[in-house]
């Protein structure tokens, strides 16, 4: 699982760099929503990316700030589904 851990975080950070932050790498614990890093629509795009990349389904009720508040939180959600 350790490698899977690293993979999820790296993939999410890579996606954020490419699609949201204009190249800036985002620390794993940086608040994404509170700081207005990501808009809600970008979060929708991220969910599509996660579902495609990891073959998971994010349920409607899981699509919230608790699960999408930071790279760490998103990775935890992805891992719990991929496990």
């Amino acid at each position: 699982m350790v490698s899977n851990n690293g993979d999820a975080r790296a993939a999410i950070r890579g996606w954020l760099q490419e699609n949201v932050t204009g190249g800036r790498d985002v620390p794993n614990d940086e608040p994404l929503i509170d700081n207005g890093v990501m808009t809600s629509l970008q979060t929708v795009e991220l969910v599509v990316f996660l579902e495609d990349t990891f073959g998971i389904v994010v349920e409607d009720e899981e699509f919230d700030e608790e699960n999408f508040g930071s790279v760490d939180a998103i990775a935890t959600l992805v891992e719990s589904k991929a496990a």
């Binding site: 949201v20 932050t21 204009g22 190249g23 800036r24 929503i33 509170d34 207005g36 890093v37 990501m38 808009t39 809600s40 629509l41 979060t43 929708v44 349920e59 409607d60 009720e61 899981e62 699509f63 919230d64 700030e65 699960n67 999408f68």
Partner: protein
């Protein structure tokens, strides 16, 4: 029980307290509840502390906190001492806040500590902070807002009239920086009366506040809820999971939002079909047209469970203007066009041609709003005020120039039955995620990076968000490696997310018009034509 006539925002508070002091006024987060009595007591304490800090009648009090109990208390505290509250978009970054604080001379800013710490030294005279004591010198003096809300209350409210300035609502202007729409106590109160009338709000309602409070339509959930003594549920998140959970957990009866919010709600289609929102009495849209496919889907998902859908249209300069009643919703369709309904109660909507005459049915003209929500004008901007706030063109000449109406800048037509249809706008304003945004503001932000020589921003239709912001720039030092990434990074750090261009394209040189200005129209149509 003594019910007062409704002149000021705090009259609405006293009436709610008189009817039921123990009724829950606000729910902040999942379970933190406050009664109307709490709202009266804490707004009195905060009002006294603001007075003590030197806030005089007519002074401006900034509210730069995340949507929260404190933000609600602050608006009423300011109202009770005859000050005007200025709700600042929590997504604003330091440059926008510094501009706004200077533009309307904020006397006291009530802010979240991390946000205050971002500001330049001496941006503010006094700050009331939420959180730990801020580091740095953004303000000359600091007060803990939590302490201020616990202190001794006001002996009595100041003498406030409906003609006093109630709030300033900042909105993007078609040129330059955001403009403050000076809104009177009367505008605020009448706005609450009108909206609560057509949405048929009662004290039984549980109203979701999903929009930001700095937005006229977002403030409206608070003022209408206060007026009828309902319960307001504060939702900060705009993610679909949180929205769905809030609607269910609190058995919300009324929700108002902008089109992107509904796109997110529809994502929960399966959950909505399996477990319909039976408590939701109405859904009201504002801030742009819902793409037809989304509207159809929303109707399919919500109407069978009894939810009524209102389509509203308004401009900050006159708070709210029209709405399409739920039973008429079929009038907004691809065949008939973007129907925005009829005037809100107590209001007249005129369609005025270029010649200044009332347009015939079917003939395009400018939407002109007449009624008690017409605001006082743009703060400190006489020229812009004279352009938008003009004498009523249809008044009898004997009335001279006493009544001012708002020219919206929107082109509409009226059908034989009196229904209004939105046709377009003349200026280059961009509508992104429910925000009205001027291209110049985006261009100024890009130029502020110091890397950009010339910038041109414009909107490109995208039904999911309204319009995407696109920027074409030329660089100061030619095509430098990684320059666009650095520009993008600068923009993200110094502007709210909705101002960040979806695409930034680099050209050696930007096309100009005959008069030497950057040819925004030409660049925008060249982009759209690939």
């Amino acid at each position: 029980m003594r019910i007062r006539p409704e002149f000021t925002l705090h009259d609405l508070l006293y009436n709610a307290v008189a009817r039921d002091p123990q009724k829950t006024a606000v729910v902040d987060g999942d379970d933190v509840q406050y009664t109307y009595e709490d709202l009266e007591r804490q707004s009195g304490s905060l009002g006294a502390a603001l007075s003590e800090a030197g806030v005089g009648k007519g002074d401006r009090v900034g509210v730069y906190v995340e949507k929260s109990w404190e933000a609600i208390v602050a608006m009423l505290a300011a109202s009770r001492i005859g000050a005007a509250y200025v709700n600042v978009n929590p997504l604003f970054k330091a440059p926008q806040v510094e501009y706004l604080a200077g533009d309307c001379d904020i006397r006291v800013m009530i802010g979240d500590t991390p946000k205050l710490e971002e500001l330049k030294p001496e941006t503010l005279q006094t700050a009331f902070y939420r959180g730990v004591q801020p580091e740095g010198q953004a303000a000359r003096s600091y007060t803990d807002v939590a302490e201020a809300m616990k202190g001794g209350g006001l002996k009595e409210d100041r003498n406030v009239s409906e003609s006093d300035l109630g709030t300033i609502l900042y909105t993007s202007g078609s040129t330059g920086m955001p403009k403050g729409v000076a809104t009177s106590q009367r505008n605020v109160v009448v706005g609450a009366q009108i909206v609560s009338t057509y949405l048929k709000n009662t004290s039984e309602d549980r109203i979701l506040s999903a929009l930001p409070l700095n937005f006229d339509a977002g403030m409206s959930q608070f003022t209408t809820s206060l007026r009828v003594g309902a319960t307001l549920y504060l939702l900060r998140s705009r993610l679909p999971g949180d929205l769905l959970k809030a609607l269910r957990r609190h058995e919300i009866t009324g929700v108002t939002g902008v089109p992107p919010l509904w796109a997110l709600l529809i994502r929960g289609a399966r959950s909505l079909r399996e477990n319909p929102l039976t408590h939701l009495r109405y859904l009201a849209n504002t801030g742009g047209r819902i793409p037809q496919a989304n509207l159809d889907e929303l109707r399919n998902l919500l109407e069978p469970a009894g939810t009524k859908i209102y389509l509203m249209y308004g401009l900050t300069e006159a708070f709210r203007s029209t709405y399409l009643a739920p039973e008429e919703i079929h009038r907004s369709s691809p065949e008939q066009g973007n129907c925005i309904g009829k005037a809100i109660p107590n209001t007249e909507i005129m369609v005025i041609t270029k010649e200044g005459q009332e347009a015939a049915p079917g003939e395009p003209g400018e939407l002109v709003h007449r009624g008690p929500t017409v605001a006082m004008g743009y703060w400190g901007n006489e020229e812009a005020t004279k352009r938008a706030y003009r004498p009523n063109p249809l008044a009898p000449p004997e009335l001279l120039d006493v009544e001012r109406v708002v020219y919206s800048g929107d082109t509409v037509k009226r059908d034989e039955e009196g229904y209004l249809y939105f046709l377009g706008r003349e200026d280059a304003m961009i509508k992104n995620q429910g925000y009205r945004l001027s291209p110049e503001e985006v261009e100024n932000l890009l130029l502020g990076s110091g890397l950009v020589h010339e910038a041109c921003a414009f909107g490109v239709e995208n039904p999911a968000v309204g319009q995407d912001v696109i920027a074409v720039i030329s660089l100061r030092n030619g095509s430098e490696e990684g320059a666009v990434d650095r520009v993008r990074e600068y923009v993200i750090e110094n502007g709210p997310p909705y101002m960040v261009p979806k695409e930034i394209l680099v050209r050696d040189d930007l096309p100009k018009t005959g008069s030497g200005k950057i040819d925004r129209k030409g660049i925008s149509s060249a982009y759209s034509n690939g």
